[in-house]
């Protein structure tokens, strides 16, 4: 960095640039070419710059700045330290790909004018950057709510559909409730000192009770944004409702800001000293992960499936945070560092591959106008690019080597594995069970992903209309390739990446993995020592690739490459059509059967008398009926009670004020 210009200044400029690009969109709100072919690529470039600057800032000293704007006695404090830098890297590189994709995606503006869309989109980006930089409660809240607002408007782009409006409302409502909780938690953390800058909160020494209160409030607040059970209900509604680049942005990037907030509060501001916080986070995370993955396996709408899988990933991240908290509270810093690295790594990995997958659904949506899995299929023949790039995302998302998802899961499992010797007997029993559940979740994720990929891209086309589906355009391809590249690099160069993000771990925990990794080569990932555990994805990949190529060459060389192409064997039924393939519901039927109590199902079975026999199954979320509807009912009752105040009778109104007066006269005494 040139000494004159600090990284934080550059990031501020970048935020302003994003805003400027957004407002440029209003210049010609209907000129789609100008907006999509000029403004969005510009936004992508800014994103790239942000990523590079943040990458450069990693490992450096924390930089601070104070702006003129803000409250009179609380101007905006900004701070760029390693934690925010890690997430800024994410916020830079991933949106770069998404914006490039969007440049090809927003052809004819859907619903709202493209210019307005461009504004909302870039305000969204800028506010997320400000969230990462904010260093006092007010700035944070402003950025946080701006983020919620802009994303809300993006979600409701196609506001003509009632269910999309409903989704947007639900989203904004829960986001607002979460924001209130966050604000409360900040209030608690000031400890009555009334200093709302983060520096002031750091300095506070809270009593265990208040510290725990603050932590739980933060967990609720940020959990509402991240989609932790039971505050997840908005997520599977809002993400599918939004245009795909926006879904990608929300799932890939926005959820991570919530993780950032949780880390910031629990480790940086509260110094994470109480072990049972970790247990809470661990439990919530496990429930969320299991819940998310189970529901993602039974979805029949491709974007909903991905949304639930995001919930699952957030759950895994929460598990990691829980472990970190436990280890940190017991001063097992090496293990804490391991878990923390897993958390950060999974944030990076997930943001890349989930954005990739959402963008792929976007391309599919554009090519086929179809979102329901039951009407797709065989698209690999029509859109090979999207299909093969999606495969990368699928493998990563299933947590399989050699791609990015596996690295973080590997780290997480390692930190489980070396956890014995916790001074708490209960924990020692909880940990293996938790590990087992994590393993189960990982395996189920594979199931969900096979369903997702197999039903969309493989098999025969379930609808004749799919014949004229077209592959993604150039811009879209570039965006997809970019994200796939990130996924691959994160997969095969783990220790290089970890060396960079280690600064954040070091900042939060005081120790990291870097010095351990220094000892081995860049290709090897051995957090403790090669004898204990090691993983070399590059060699892994090379070996398999070599075997594949060599085997192929050998077979061709020794034998022949002859191929005959008849039609598939139809078991003698000549009229077997594409409908014979298992649909989405059928594919996940075993899961529904095994985990029956986890779902709230309404099934309709055809009977012999049906003139048009059909089978249908509707899977609903338990938490609606357990938590949300009762709350709504209660509020309704209270209002019914209260509106009787306004009965319309003037005499009664007079009586109110008369009685008020009398009561005050008789009761109120100085």
């Amino acid at each position: 960095m040139p000494g004159s210009l600090l990284s934080i200044d550059v990031l501020l400029i970048a935020a302003c640039a994003w805003l400027a690009i957004g407002f440029l969109g209003l210049v010609a709100p209907r000129d789609t070419r100008f907006i999509s072919k000029l403004l969005f690529p510009l936004g992508a470039a800014v994103g790239l710059a942000v990523g590079l600057v943040a990458l450069d800032a990693l490992g450096g000293q924390a930089q601070t700045a104070v702006l003129v704007i803000g409250l009179p006695d609380l101007p905006f404090h900004l701070r760029l330290d390693n934690l925010s830098a890690v997430f800024a890297v994410l916020l830079g590189f991933v949106p770069a790909g998404i914006s490039i994709f969007a440049a090809g995606y927003f052809r004819e503006g859907e619903g709202t004018a493209p210019g307005v869309l461009c504004l909302e989109y870039h305000v969204f980006l800028a506010s997320m950057l400000m969230v990462l930089l904010a260093d006092d409660a007010y700035a944070f809240m402003v950025a946080w709510e701006c983020m919620a607002l802009s994303s809300y408007f993006l979600v409701t782009t196609n506001h003509h559909h009632a269910e999309i409006r409903r989704a947007g409302f639900l989203y904004l409502l829960i986001a607002h409730v979460g924001a209130i909780a966050i604000l409360l938690s900040f209030g608690v953390m000031t400890g009555g000192a009334g200093d709302y800058s983060f520096a002031g909160m750091r300095a506070q020494e809270l009593s265990p009770f208040w510290a725990s209160a603050a932590f739980l409030l933060a967990l609720v607040g940020f959990g509402a944004k991240a989609g932790l059970v039971p505050l997840h209900v908005w997520l599977p509604e809002a993400h599918p409702a939004a245009p795909s680049p926006v879904s990608a942005m929300m799932s890939g990037v926005m959820l991570k800001t919530a993780i950032y907030g949780l880390l910031r509060v629990s480790f940086d501001l509260l110094h994470a000293t109480i072990w049972w916080w970790g247990v809470v986070a661990l439990a919530v995370g496990l429930v969320t992960a299991l819940f998310g993955v189970l529901y993602s396996t039974v979805q029949s709408d491709m974007k909903r499936l991905l949304a639930y899988s995001s919930i699952e990933n957030i759950g895994l991240i929460a598990v990691g945070i829980g472990l970190t908290l436990i280890f940190h509270a017991y001063r097992m810093e090496a293990l804490a560092a391991l878990a923390m690295t897993a958390v950060l790594y999974h944030c990076l990995a997930h943001s890349a591959f989930k954005s990739l997958l959402f963008l792929c659904t976007g391309s599919v949506l554009h090519a086929t106008r179809e979102r329901s899995l039951g009407k797709l299929g065989g698209l690999i023949h029509r859109m090979p690019w999207v299909a093969w790039l999606a495969l990368a995302g699928v493998i990563a998302s299933a947590g399989l080597p050699p791609l990015s998802g596996f690295v973080s899961e590997w780290l997480l499992l390692q930190s489980f594995l070396f956890s014995p010797g916790l001074p708490h007997p209960w924990l020692n029993m909880v940990v293996p069970v938790a590990a087992a559940l994590v393993a189960l979740v990982a395996a189920l994720a594979g199931f969900a992903m096979v369903k997702f990929y197999g039903i969309i891209f493989l098999g025969q086309m379930r609808e004749p209309g799919l014949k004229d589906a077209h592959d993604a355009g150039t811009w879209e391809k570039v965006g997809l390739v970019w994200l796939a590249l990130i996924t691959l690099l994160l997969g095969i160069l783990p220790s290089t990446v970890i060396m960079r993000i280690d600064a954040a771990t070091r900042q939060l925990l005081g120790t990291g993995l870097a010095d351990k990794l220094q000892e081995q080569g860049w290709w090897m990932l051995a957090p403790i020592s090669p004898e204990r555990a090691s993983y070399e994805p590059l060699i892994f990949l090379v070996t398999i690739a070599a075997t594949v190529l060599f085997g192929r060459w050998l077979v061709r060389h020794l034998y022949h490459g002859r191929v005959r192409r008849p039609s598939a064997w139809d078991c003698g039924y000549s009229f077997q059509g594409p409908r014979a393939q298992a649909p989405a519901e059928g594919f996940s039927q075993p899961i529904r059967r095994i985990f029956e109590p986890m779902f709230r199902m309404q099934r309709h079975f055809p009977t012999a008398r049906d003139t048009q026999p059909y089978y249908s199954v509707k899977v609903e979320d338990h938490f609606w009926h357990w938590l949300y509807l009762p709350l709504a009912k209660a509020a309704g009752r209270v209002s019914t009670l209260i509106v009787t105040l306004q009965g319309g009778r003037i005499a009664v109104y007079l009586m109110y004020s008369f009685i008020t007066l009398l009561v005050l006269l008789l009761v109120a005494r100085p």
């Binding site: 402003v142 946080w144 701006c146 007066l661 100085p670």
Partner: protein, 483 residues
């Protein structure tokens, strides 16, 4: 000529003038010009006060200090924008055959007189005259509320008149008691009701009398502020009157009533150091906030709903001033400003929306953003602002109020948050389908005036991100004056 005199004379004269000239084509412009003049005078006065401190006028009967000059500026400004807005609005009403020429004349003259009474109420130094002005404001607005002469509007006006009349009567009793207490200190001289004199001797005023007097004053003026359970007139009056009137009622009248309470609170605090007045206001504030929040979810008429939201915010402000102290008072003043700006902007947008769709029932309104994107966005942004969404200024003041409450009255925070959450769910859930969705558009004979809406929202947005230092100093001074 003196800015102050100008400021009072212009609305008075123009009001009379508008009565005699009747409804000509240029009458609306005259209305606007008069408001513009008033605003200019108010600005001049403000500059003067900020420059060389408080001053008297008409002997000691009028007194302008940094507290009320700020209200004066706000009132004149909103008065101006409302008059701009009401021009095309009223024309459209006439086109739709809802109003006749004489009604329009009545409207304009009463509007100017109303401005006069409020400015007088704000600037007077004599608590008796304050009462008189408040009563006069009620009388003028009663005629404005019943402008449509429909059964509903008559009923609303009648309730408004009776409830506020009775309330004001209580306030008069309180004033008499105050005078009674003051007379024993200041003697027979006629200046026992002059605030500037009272403030000097507030320590010596008889506590028991002051307590009684404050109760009466609170109940009296509180009725006009709309504190529950004295609020019943408010939603009716807002919903049935013409929209510009709803705008000034919410944006200005409530503020002025609250201002009256504040003046009295200062004296009561002086006489009763036990925080008696503050606690009363805290109680009323919280109760109002809670009640209004739960009322919101059952509304079907859009103006009625926003009237309840005004009640809610008045509760919040009362709570803030009840807490007292420089920070809370600062927040309270800020919130008053934000609320009157935002709420009037919302009513402007709502007015045009209802004219376009021809109904006030929310379930029949949809797709405003299609009919007229500016109105749609205006309503949407205004709603988000009033719900305390950053980066709008309302959030700034709510943030200060909340944090201050967390520090000094932690037990109150859950109530505040509950109320705010419920209000959010109720209002936003109803506004969203109005703004979004499909619709069949309807042309208006006269193009709506959108400028005021975005002018207000722009200011609110600006203040949310950056409060200019001189404004801060000004607020701080006013806050200190409130103790």
């Amino acid at each position: 000529m003196d800015f102050f005199v100008l400021m009072l004379v212009i609305p008075l004269v123009s009001g009379a003038l508008l009565t005699v000239v009747g409804e000509r084509d240029w009458a609306p412009n005259l209305n606007v010009i008069a408001s513009l003049g008033t605003f200019a005078a108010a600005v001049g006065l403000t500059v003067e006060i900020v420059a060389n401190g408080p001053r008297f006028a008409f002997g000691e009967q009028f007194f302008i200090d940094s507290l009320n000059v700020f209200f004066v500026a706000l009132t004149a400004f909103v008065g101006l924008t409302t008059s701009i807005f009401s021009g095309p609005y009223m024309r459209n009403e006439r086109e739709h055959g809802k109003l006749s020429a004489p009604r329009l004349r009545l409207y304009k003259s009463m509007y100017q007189l109303f401005m006069f009474t409020m400015l007088a109420a704000l600037t007077t130094n004599n608590l008796g005259l304050l009462w008189v002005a408040m009563e006069a404001a009620t009388l003028t607005t009663v005629l404005l509320v019943s402008l449509y002469r429909t059964p509903a509007s008559l009923e609303a006006a009648w309730k408004y008149f009776i409830l506020c009349g009775v309330g004001i009567a209580q306030a008069l009793f309180g004033t008499i008691l105050l005078y009674f207490a003051a007379e024993r200190v200041l003697g027979e001289s006629g200046n026992a009701l002059l605030w500037t004199h009272l403030i000097d001797v507030k320590g010596q005023l008889e506590p028991t009398i002051m307590a009684l007097s404050f109760i009466f004053l609170l109940v009296g003026y509180g009725t006009k502020v709309g504190l529950a359970p004295l609020h019943n007139w408010l939603p009716d009056a807002h919903a049935e009157g013409p929209t510009p009137v709803s705008a000034v009622l919410s944006g200005l009248l409530l503020n002025v009533a609250l201002y009256a309470i504040l003046r009295c609170k200062v004296l009561a605090d002086g006489a009763l150091p036990s925080g008696f007045a503050g606690n009363l206001m805290i109680g009323f504030g919280l109760f109002t906030l809670l009640v209004a929040a739960f009322f919101l979810s059952r509304q079907r008429d859009v103006k009625r709903m926003f009237a309840y939201s005004s009640i809610e915010h008045m509760g919040l402000i009362t709570f803030a001033f009840g807490m007292g102290g420089p920070v809370a008072n600062f927040a309270g003043l800020l919130h008053m400003t934000m609320h009157s700006l935002t709420k009037s902007a919302i009513f402007f947008a709502v007015g045009h929306a209802t004219q376009k769709t021809g109904t006030q029932l929310m379930e029949n309104i949809s797709g405003l953003i299609k009919i007229n994107p500016l109105i749609g966005w205006g309503l949407m942004l205004g709603t988000l602002a009033i719900l305390g969404m950053p980066p709008f200024g309302v959030f700034a003041s709510e943030f200060m109020i909340l944090t201050h409450a967390m520090k000094h009255f932690p037990w109150a925070t859950p109530i505040l948050l509950l109320a705010l959450g419920v209000a959010f769910a109720a209002i936003f859930g109803k506004v969203q389908p109005m703004v979004f969705g499909e619709t069949e558009a309807r042309r208006l004979p006269h193009a709506p005036a959108i400028t005021p809406v975005f002018l207000h929202l722009g200011i609110v947005l600006m203040l949310g991100l950056y409060i200019p230092p001189y404004l801060t100093r000004w607020f701080h001074e006013a806050a200190r004056m409130l103790g």
